[in-house]
């Protein structure tokens, strides 16, 4: 009985992360999930913004103070990165759903494109924010 239980415990799990050489398409896959969860928090912040606006000037001022703090800005920067990443990679997924770009070479190339777009768009938005007095 004990032996059987022991043998069953030690049965190997299906091959997972540790048997694969890390590659860029794996990174884009898990990052899509991670940024999706981050944007979940971001949407809750957006809901808090809407509620604060409906509450009135005092609640809105408190909300803006919190988001304008160093921690608030850090959160907004993370959300900007997450947003542009999830947007670009989401479009990549939609292209795949249409049956295009599924070969290894195209998938690697589009992954690089997604990272490049994320970096460029985030820098552009924060540059505009700095110029328009949004930060």
């Amino acid at each position: 009985m004990t032996d059987t239980a022991k043998v069953q415990r030690e049965r190997p799990l299906s091959p997972h992360l540790q048997v694969w050489r890390w590659h860029i398409t794996m990174a884009t896959s898990i990052l899509h999930r991670a940024t999706g969860v981050a944007l979940y928090v971001g949407a809750l912040i957006a809901a808090a913004w809407a509620v604060a606006l409906a509450e009135g000037p005092d609640a809105y001022a408190t909300f803006k103070l919190a988001m304008g703090s160093p921690l608030g800005k850090l959160v907004m920067f993370g959300l900007t990165l997450s947003f542009f990443y999830h947007l670009a990679n989401g479009i990549r997924h939609l292209v795949w759903d249409s049956g295009h770009g599924l070969d290894v070479k195209s998938a690697n190339a589009s992954a690089v494109l997604v990272f490049a777009f994320t970096a460029a768009a985030t820098i552009a938005v924060w540059a505009i924010a700095a110029m328009t007095g949004a930060i």
Partner: protein, 128 residues
Amino acid sequence: MASYRTPLSRARGLGSAKHGVTHWISERVGAIALVPLTLWAAFGVLRLAAGDYGFAVAWIREPLNATLMVLTLAISFWHMHAGLRVVVEDYVDQTLNRSVLLLINLFVCGLAGALAVFSILKVALGGA
């Protein structure tokens, strides 16, 4: 796209797929709608961050802004619910835990989404 299915398998698939594929397609339609909507919202956040309370109220009272904001929020919360649902289904295999987490996900998205949409409508219709 190269087809890996035989004509017979494809014909058989047409039978049961009529209903089940609706969910998959609706997820994609929501995602496609969010591409222009969230880009517009990001532009909106930039303007709102630079403005004060009075600017935000005036901005939301524009019918186009109120409509697009309600659509962005509603479709986002629906998309989030579908997304986190898949994450829970993938990583939580205990039936009770899974059911509880799926319910929390649904209720959080439903409540936050309803609060957000109601708040926008209140301001847009002159309640602020």
